[in-house]
Subunit: 147 residues, 2 copies
DNA sequence: GCGTTTGGCCTAAGATAATTAGGTTTCTTG
DNA sequence: CAAGAAACCTAATTATCTTAGGCCAAACGC
């Protein structure tokens, strides 16, 4: 499904998604039109879901990052999910196996702000929060190999 | 530190980091050269940490995504951190407050593969794994407002 | 086994976009 | 209030991207 060349494209774009077509083409030793066509197919097949940026949260005023495990009260799963979705401070949330139904990552300006967000969930769910002390591994790509 | 225009730039690029300079300039109603200069400063100040892509893990052969809480055995924190860093299946890891010293996200091809990765940690740490059943919120940006 | 089709690549030209240079306006500051 | 700096602009040059058309090799049908 994904050959060696597609793999190189993904690696190059993961490192810098704003690479010009020319640079990208040079990186994979193909012509510009062929590279365009490869890119188009990667997008079409959904391999590349999005081109995006990684923003420094502190520069946006978010001093604190936390991981929160959320256990909805019986019968409140749907409500809690809606609540989570509509909480803009939550930047990522997974529904997982186990007692902790949801695991969310959130960005807040202060401890007070964290408390505020958690309070908004308190009526519908039990939460356990962990403050991020350090990012040991910033979001990276898993090993990419031709399939 | 970040004005209304920078904010718009960040929002536009978060949605599509490959927007051409011309499109970006049109989006914020500035000329192309001014837009270039704004971008340059956002990069220089570290507000934009990286331009990257969001890849569909399934298309790379990763059928399963898991969140793992890792509690190193006494005195083994450093060793475990090294181990985590050198595990390519781990795509993200945070050092957090609380008993669970690390929280990692990993991509694996199968349950056997998951077991394999966890086994490699077993000698140095206790782990609790949760399989991701559904991404309720895919990585998004927190609210952006001028600061 | 051979002609045909398809997929993927190429080059080259025309169209589009990015950069550079130089000037204008506006805000800040001595 | 004048000087300087910061941020913007336009226009011309330079570079890049897209389009069109053709080549080649592997897969396919007869």
């Amino acid at each position: 499904m994904i050959d060696r060349i597609d793999c190189s494209i993904l690696k190059l774009l993961a490192r810098n998604a704003r690479l010009s077509l020319k640079e990208l083409a040079a990186g994979i030793s193909l012509s510009a039109p062929s590279t365009t066509e490869r890119l188009r197919r990667l997008e079409e097949r959904g391999t590349i879901r999005a081109y995006t940026i990684d923003v420094e949260p502190k520069q946006l005023g978010y001093a604190i990052q936390a991981l929160v495990r959320v256990r909805p009260l019986p019968g409140r799963v749907q409500i809690v999910q809606k609540l989570i979705e509509s909480t803009p401070e939550i930047v990522e949330c997974d529904k997982v196996t186990g007692d902790d139904c949801f695991v969310a990552r959130l960005f807040v300006r202060s401890m007070e702000h964290l408390d505020e967000v958690l309070e908004s969930l308190a009526a519908e769910a039990a939460t356990s929060s962990s403050i991020v002390k350090r990012q040991v591994i910033a979001r990276r790509q898993p090993p990419m190999a031709p399939i």
